[in-house]
């Protein structure tokens, strides 16, 4: 399953900046609250997190060394 930005609707002020910058149409504002469009092909560019003035969107990264990924797959 594709990991997508984490949305905190309680923090959203409905400004719509994330909708403006999202290149894949992955966000919409419904009744002044951010909602994710699940069919969208999110590239995890994190631009939505960058422009969000209230911290309602988070794009956390896992930091790994390539070898450890290979080992996990082998296991």
């Amino acid at each position: 399953m594709l990991v997508k930005p984490i949305l905190n609707e309680a923090l959203c002020n409905g400004c719509g900046l994330c909708v403006t910058v999202c290149q894949c149409g992955g966000m919409v504002i419904v009744a002044s609250i951010i909602k994710r469009v699940d069919v969208a092909d999110c590239r995890y560019c994190a631009e939505c997190e960058l422009v969000c003035p209230t911290g309602a969107i988070q794009c956390p990264y896992e930091i790994v060394i390539e070898e450890s990924i290979e080992m996990t797959i082998e296991e």
């Binding site: 594709l2 990991v3 590239r43 995890y44 994190a46 997190e49 960058l50 911290g55 988070q58 794009c59 956390p60 990264y61 896992e62 930091i63 790994v64 060394i65 390539e66 450890s68 990924i69 996990t72």
Partner: protein, 230 residues
């Protein structure tokens, strides 16, 4: 929930203490839990206790009057925070927030003074732990003063990839970091972190793989961060 002796034993503060001593200390320990993003301590508030992370991860940070955040350290299972305020009697030196769901053990300031009087052997452990923290902060000052942002980010990525347990390990052992958190750790703006990650990717040191930052050239990151490969 009951305080577990086995968990206490695994905390470096209590290394080398006898079962009887641990049992006596256990009476002074309280448990506290928090969800991701819960504020645990606020800087400048009166210090109440020293805390030990039993599971999960917290971040210790300062906030400037302009709202800029500087992360001082990430505290993992077995490690402690707010020790300084408990020993020097001052307020909390920094704020603490949960990065994952966390379980904490705590000992109040008054109880810690009693424990140290009754179990002086503990003082050696405390000195070692505080010395390690001083060393960490010396290294942080060195990085912030003398290293470029991209080199500091290279060091952060290396430390994070190697210090936080295996993928798929215990939940919360390897917390994920946002670019905002990386910026707060290396002392820069979020936009600069974005540019530095791109620079590292163009150089072939890392690969951005959706929600993963994959280190593909560990040696290059070691060179940039001044780490000597062992």
């Amino acid at each position: 929930m009951a305080i577990e002796i086995e968990l206490l034993k695994s905390i470096p503060y209590f290394l080398g203490l006898s079962a009887a001593e641990l049992e006596a200390i256990k009476q002074h320990v309280f448990e506290q839990s928090a969800e991701r993003n819960d504020m645990i301590l606020l800087e400048e508030e009166a210090a109440h206790a020293v805390y030990f992370v039993v599971s999960g991860v917290v971040k210790v940070f300062k906030t400037s009057v302009e709202g800029k955040e500087q992360i001082l350290c990430i505290v993992k299972a077995g490690e402690s925070f707010n020790d300084i305020a408990v020993f020097d009697g001052g307020p909390n030196p920094a704020s603490v927030i949960a990065m994952t769901p966390v379980v904490l053990y705590g000992i109040t300031k008054t109880d810690m003074e009693t424990i140290l009087r009754r179990h002086p052997g503990l003082a050696t452990n405390v000195i070692k732990i505080l010395s390690k923290k001083v060393r960490h902060f010396v290294s942080l000052v060195e990085d912030l003063s003398f290293r470029h942002v991209t080199d500091r980010l290279a060091k952060l990525l290396l430390e994070y990839a190697t210090d936080h347990g295996p993928i798929g390990g215990e939940a919360g052992a390897r917390p994920r970091l946002t670019q905002q958190e990386m910026a707060a750790m290396v002392g820069t703006a979020r936009e600069v972190v974005g540019r530095s990650l791109k620079a590292l990717e163009e150089e072939g040191a890392i690969r951005m793989d959706r929600h993963r930052i994959v280190i593909v050239n560990k040696k290059r990151l070691e060179e940039m961060s001044g780490v000597t490969a062992g």
